[in-house]
Amino acid sequence: MSILVNKNTRVICQGITGSAGAFHTAQCLEYGTQMVGGVTPSKGGQKSEHGLPIFNTCHEAVAATHADATMIFVPAPFAADAAMEAADAGIKLIVLITEGIPTLDMVKARKFLDDRGVRLIGPNCPGIITPGECKIGIMPGYIHKARTPGAPAVGIISRSGTLTYEAVWQCTSRGIAQTTCVGIGGDPVKGLNFIELLELFEHDPATDAMIMIGEIGGTDEENAARYIKEKVRKPVVAFIAGQTAPPGKRMGHAGAIISGGTGDAKSKIAALREAGLAVADSPATIGDTLVTRLKR
């Protein structure tokens, strides 16, 4: 079991002929993802370097391939439009990798997607992976560990990319598998957030525990803490990046900024601890914190 994606997920890539799109489509194929086609306007009818059919529009791609998920590498100025096109074409899961999308574009796209019951992961994210079954995104596949019956497995939710790999690697090296890992992205306006994913993991019988990796900016972690206290019974381990970040400075991610007296790491950590979570002090001890928590 897993959440959102599995071996049956049929995936197209929007922006398949760009360098990042082509490279990561190849990586996803190699991992075993069912990549079924790609979209690049004006290149419809051709085959990609991977031998996949290319379509001019998402509508054509969905009609021909019955894809149910998309991975978007379209450049930032056009990326929100690409997501809305996918939603309109009937795609139910959109993984938006693109970084640098204007926030107000995402405000509009988010509403458009919500109205159509479409799930969005990202933007500005590494994507989603169910180890051993389906990888939609840019994470290195080999660091993950697929679940085996009887062994513990964790679900991971993270606002960061490389910091997620760090957590995954720590789990894998300690023999803990992952059911699904979701990078929700570093932008202020995004799709699925901690709460929705915690709910999915809580109800996934294969997931024994969750790791959430937050960072400064906004109040998503505080909101998640309240939700966990009320609704989550499985153990949750957390790490919050940016304890040393100065206020008023945007730390790389568009959404990682302490402003107006909210969004600092200290208050997030306090809220999570208050909700009963084990919060790792160091990014190097996320795996160990989970191991300790699982033994309890």
Partner: protein, 386 residues
């Protein structure tokens, strides 16, 4: 990107928000001319981003030519020092000369994107003229919010509700307050702002409604479609190293410590700073080399880190996803050969092509380069080295 007060006033005036008559000047002579043109009493305000202008003596009320001359002379020749500028202060190049008004009452208007609801929100308060964070902490009920429809924007009925909150009853005042609220929303949406504030909006003793001060920041990711905002950018307000990093598509923020950081990914870069602190060190910077890192960009990253004279050691922490470890290793070797490392560089690599990268570094046999096993090991080694 932030803009100056006079530029924000300009954007508001353009969409019909009432603002006091004003002019921007760069010399004492221009200041005097502006004074004679504008009013019998003017307020002179230094145009800098840093707060604390009033206490530092960089906001002055003047009603004679001699006062204007003295104030302008002082502001244009002295560096402004406030808690926000640091002890060395900042130079002032531009002054705003504005008609002074007698304030009856002050109000707050502000707009941001509400991250939890993923839509912009307009906030108003009858407690204007102070930092809105103070009001939020002391008396949250005093701030009234209206959330915008993501596709339709701020609707007229919402403007009406907010004007009611501010308590205006006189016809002209209602009309001007409406202009201020809807004008702020127009600028926010049209120009891709991330923050837009009129603070204070005032009612004058003679009954006029005016936007007295304005603050705006814009979405860097949307600047590509706003040529005019790009032209408003004031590079003198930025840290030179941060500006240089931006030109090379590096995300860099200077900090006070002595351990430089070169990391891929913003989250990991923050976590790297945190782990340095946890092991007793002080990070000198935040630096995310990004996903599509090239050798040239990595060399530039090292140069920027090493341009900080305080740096006594560097921690390179790479977890390869898009960024491949061998590219970083190649860049490390190239940088070592091109600029030479004057400080120890502790390297911790993991991820795509890591074995190849480790092999490359081993074969290059670079002095000053220390290899680390895991993140804790790396943090301990770099903290011990400085």
């Amino acid at each position: 990107m932030r803009i100056h007060e006079y530029q924000a006033r300009g954007l508001l005036a353009e969409v019909g928000v009432p603002v006091p008559a004003s002019q921007v000047v760069t010399t004492v002579q221009e200041a005097i001319e502006a004074f004679h043109l504008i009013d019998t009493t003017v307020v002179i305000k230094a145009q800098v981003f840093a707060g604390g202008r009033g206490k530092a003596g960089f906001v002055k009320l003047c009603s004679t030519e001699a006062e204007v001359k003295a104030a302008a002379q002082f502001m244009l020749t002295n560096r402004m020092i406030s808690p926000q500028t640091g002890p060395e202060g900042i130079p002032v190049g531009k002054l705003l000369i504005a008609a002074s008004v007698d304030i009856e009452s002050e109000y707050y208007l502000g707009m941001v994107v509400d991250r939890s609801r993923h839509v912009p929100v307009m906030m108003v308060s009858r407690e204007g003229g102070v930092e809105i964070e103070e009001v939020a902490a002391r008396n949250p009920q005093a701030i009234v919010k209206e959330w915008l429809h993501p596709h339709l924007g701020l609707m007229p009925y919402q403007v009406g509700k907010l004007v009611d909150v501010l308590g205006f009853t006189q016809k002209q005042q209602i009309s001007d307050a409406r202009k201020a609220i809807s004008g702020l929303a127009t600028v926010f949406l049209k120009e891709d702002a991330t923050l837009a504030e009129i603070n204070p909006l005032v009612r004058t003793k003679d009954g006029r409604i005016l936007a007295l001060d304005a603050k705006m920041t814009f979405d860097d990711n949307a600047l590509f479609r706003h040529k005019r905002l790009q032209d408003m950018h004031d590079p003198t307000e930025e840290n030179p190293a941060e500006l240089r990093a931006k030109q090379h598509e590096l995300s860099y923020i200077a900090l006070d410590g002595n351990i430089g950081c070169l990391v891929n990914g913003a989250g990991l870069a923050m976590a790297t700073m945190d782990i340095i602190k946890l092991h007793g060190g002080q990070p000198a910077n935040f630096l995310d080399v990004g996903g599509g890192v090239t050798t040239e960009r990595a060399i530039e990253a090292f140069k920027i880190i090493l341009s900080d004279p305080q740096v006594r050691g560097i921690l390179v922490n790479i977890f390869g996803g898009i960024a491949k470890c061998d590219v970083i290793a190649g860049a490390l070797i190239a940088a070592a050969q091109e600029i030479g490392f004057r400080v120890p560089v502790v390297v911790r690599l993991e991820g795509t092509n890591v074995d190849k990268a480790r092999q490359m570094l081993k074969e290059a046999n670079i002095q000053q380069l220390v290899s680390a096993g895991d993140l804790t090991d790396a943090a301990k080694k770099v903290c011990a080295a400085v």
